[in-house]
C-alpha cells in the first residue's frame, strides 16, 4: 500500500538511521544551549560597554558588534577553526566542536548585545535614579533593578535570536562537527538518497522550530505581551 511512498521517501532506511538523527538533534540542542549561555554573558558585557560613558569602553564594543554583524558566520567559523590552532592555548588545539561553539557564541553575542542594549534602554530612567537615591550602589542598581527588567523586556527578541542560533548551528557541519545536518549528510554519503537524507534533517529542524514557537508564545503570554 505504501509502495509508492517507498520510491519517494524510503522511511525504512530512515528508520535504520533513527539513532544517527537522534544523536544529531541532541548535539544541535547541546551546541545551541552552550552557545546561547555564552552569548548571553558575553552579550551583556558588550551591551554594558556600549552604554558606558567612557569612550575607551564604548569604542571596542562598537567595533566588535559591527565587525561581526558585517561578515558572514561561515567566514567567522573558518577564521576560528583555522586560526585558533595557531595560537597556543591550553597546550593543545581546539577541536572542531570547541572551535565551532566558540565561533557561534562570539557571533551570536554581537546580536544579543544589541538586543540587551535595547532592553536596558527600555527601562525608564526613573528606575535607576530611584534605586540610586535609596542608597543602592551602581552595581546593586544594575543587578537588582535595571538588568531584571531589561531581560524581561528583551526576552521575546532573545528567543527569536535563539531560533536563528539553532539554525546557524547547522553551519558547523561544514567543519565536520556532528549535528542534525551532518546526520542527513551521513545518510547521503552512505546511500546517496537525497530525499531521505535532507528532508529528514529538515523535518528535525522543523520539530525544533515548532518547540521554539511554543516557547515564544508561552513567554509572550507570561510577559503580558511586553515587547
Amino acid at each position: 500500500m505504501f509502495d509508492w511512498l517507498l520510491d519517494v521517501y524510503n522511511y525504512r532506511v530512515v528508520a535504520d538511521y533513527a539513532s544517527t538523527f537522534a544523536f544529531g538533534i541532541w548535539r544541535t540542542v547541546w551546541i545551541s544551549t552552550v552557545s546561547l549561555l555564552a552569548a548571553l554573558v558575553l552579550g551583556t558585557g558588550i551591551a554594558l560597554m556600549r552604554r558606558s560613558r567612557r569612550r575607551l569602553a564604548r569604542w571596542p564594543a562598537t567595533v566588535y558588534v559591527e565587525a561581526l554583524r558585517g561578515t558572514p558566520l561561515l567566514v567567522q567559523i573558518y577564521l576560528v577553526y583555522y586560526g585558533l590552532p595557531e595560537i597556543p592555548l591550553l597546550g593543545r588545539r581546539l577541536d572542531e566542536l570547541e572551535g565551532g561553539v566558540l565561533a557561534l557564541s562570539v557571533h551570536t553575542a554581537a546580536y544579543m548585545a544589541e538586543i540587551i542594549r535595547a532592553g536596558i534602554g527600555s527601562v525608564p530612567e526613573g528606575q535607576a535614579e530611584g534605586a540610586r537615591s535609596v542608597g543602592m550602589t551602581r552595581w546593586q542598581t544594575l543587578r537588582y533593578v535595571v538588568l531584571p527588567q531589561a531581560f524581561a523586556n528583551a526576552t521575546p527578541p532573545i528567543i527569536g535570536q535563539t531560533a536563528v542560533l539553532i539554525k546557524d548551528s547547522s553551519l558547523l557541519s561544514i567543519i565536520a562537527v556532528f549535528e542534525t545536518m551532518s546526520a542527513g549528510l551521513r545518510l547521503m554519503s552512505d546511500r546517496y538518497m537525497p530525499n531521505e537524507a535532507f528532508l529528514t534533517s529538515a523535518a528535525c529542524f522543523l520539530a525544533i522550530y515548532a518547540v521554539m514557537l511554543g516557547v515564544s508564545n508561552f513567554a509572550q503570554r507570561r510577559l503580558g505581551g511586553a515587547t
Binding site: G70, L74, G184, N195, L199, Y209
Partner: protein, 222 residues
Amino acid sequence: MLDALQQHMPFLLAGLWMTVQVTLLGICFGTLFGTLVGIARALGPRPAFWILGAYIHLWRGTPFLCQIYIVYFVLPQTGIAWLQFDSFQASVVALTIYSSSYIAEIVRAAINAVPRGQVEGARSVGMTSGQTLRYVIAPQALRMVLPPLGGVYVIMVKVTAVLSVIGTTELVRQANLVIQRDPANIMPIFLVVAGLYFVFCYPMLLLTQWAERRYGGLHLEA
C-alpha cells in the same frame, strides 16, 4: 605574504563579483516573490492566508544550508526537467525562496499597519480595490517596509557564503580553492575575505540604520 595575497586577489575579486551577482538576483526575485506572497496573505482570502503561512513557516523553520541541499539535490529527484538546476541556478532559487519568507512577513505587517479607516475611506470614495492598493496602501506601506527590508538584504549577502557547499564559485568557494594552492596563508586569506564581505555589507547596514531613523521601525511579530 603581501606578494602572495596580491597574487590571489584576482581570484578573490572574481568570487566577490559572483557573490554580488547571486545576491542581486536573489534580492530582485526574492523581493518580487515575497511581496506577492505578503500581499496575498494580507489581503487575500482565508485559505491563502493559511497555506502561505505554512509555506513561510516551512522555510523559516529550516536552516538555509538545509534549503540549499534540498534545492540542489532533492528537487532534481522529482525528474521534472526545469528543476534540474546547475549550482548557479540552485543558488538563485534558494536565495529567492529564503528571502521571500522574510520579505512576505514584512510586507504583510506593513500593509496591516496602514489604518483600516484609510482603506475604508478609499473604497467609499469609489476607488476599486486595485486603486486602493496602488494609491493608498502601497505609498504608506513602502516607507515602513524600507528599514526591515534593508536588514534582510544584509542577511542575504552574508548567507551567500553558504552557497560554497554546492560549488557556486562565490567568495568563500574561491577562498577555499586559493587555500588549496597556498595552505600557508589561510588566516590572511580569510581575513581579506572577511574584509571584502564587510565592505559589501557595512554600507547597506548604515543605510538600513539611516532608514530606520528616518522612517521609524516596523513592529514585526516574531
